[in-house]
Amino acid sequence: MPEIFDIIIIGGGPAGLTAGIYASRARMKTLILNEGTVGGQLVLTHEIANYPGVESISGFQLGNIMKKQALTFGCKIRSNVQVTGFDYSANPKIVEINGSERFFGRTVILSPGGEPRMIHVPGETEFKGRGVSYCATCDGDFFTGKDIVVVGGGNSALEEAVSLTKYASNVAVVHQFDQFQAFPYAVEEAKANPKIKFYMESQVRNILGDDSVKQVEIEHLPTGGKTMLSVDGIFIFIGYIAKTQGFEKCVILNDRGEIIVGTEMQTNVPGVFAAGDCIAKRYRQVTTAVADGTIAALSAIEYLRTN
């Protein structure tokens, strides 16, 4: 007879870990299946300074504390696994990992979070780690005295463009619209920096190089004119998207690929809940993810009590 969990949580970021803490503390047999490193996007965050009750902490540490809390209450966690199949309409619900192992759950909470948006141009994947980067704090110092491109027009892009001028000689900010989405303070700071040049209404078309990046081709959208920039690197900060590929087979998503939930975090499938950055909502923060995770766990517990 296979082991049947009360709650299986797909994704071990702040939302999934919080759901794991609440569910296992309520003595539910709980399993978290996580594709990457436990902690999710927290691991990508050098400093969290807006999590109430904690003045400042690295994302890695905060994630580790959440993980420890969940484990302490008896939650099981499997990390670095790949969910390769599922049947959420079955009773119990089935989740398959790594093409072989199967887990059975009476309820499921989906919390796969988000992933960085790529620009999907030739060279982006080939030159990852060889001039294409998504992390200024990690890789900035490789570009000391060099010229680089920063793609994006939001707060992250402009703040990182400014921070990269500590290393780079020249930073070309490429943004597809004629206005920035960033807050005025970030725009003003970037505009006041003499090392930063702006290419508005433009998009990157090609990343070229040999051992590493050497050139980036950009297109001015209104005129179609192409410019080849000789640079050593390109940093991409164009936001995050819900990591819900494949989930459209089981729950209803909106046109942005986000899971549609009700106020109790319930999806359209009975016994299946969702929480965190993967759901259709406006604000994506650790605080909102942990709140969603709490509600999803409590709703799943209530579902188990009444069904």
Partner: protein
Amino acid sequence: MLQTNLTHVLTASAHQKLIQENENVMICCGRMGPMCIPVYGIMEELEPEYSHVKFADMEFDNPESHPIRNAPECKGFMGIPFTVYYKNGKLVKATSSIQSMPQVRSILEAQFDNKKQ
């Protein structure tokens, strides 16, 4: 020292000793940052499974990590961590920046498959 549960390599001579005394070695040379932590996590996870491979880390900012930072195989690398794989003391594969579990696993299988237990 990096906060991981892997073997820490602290000097260039310890690095040399490690790759000479072990047939299959994987070393992740990085910092405690967003692109590196996931790779350490993957290595910790795989360590029990690949008992014929020695898994270790080395601090990127430690001047003693020059054998990895300056390896010809790492030429053009502009993203940490630099992850290097040695077979019988010879560097056989190197990757730059974050890697996923399937990516690491496929390199381990391709380079060190012969003795997987």
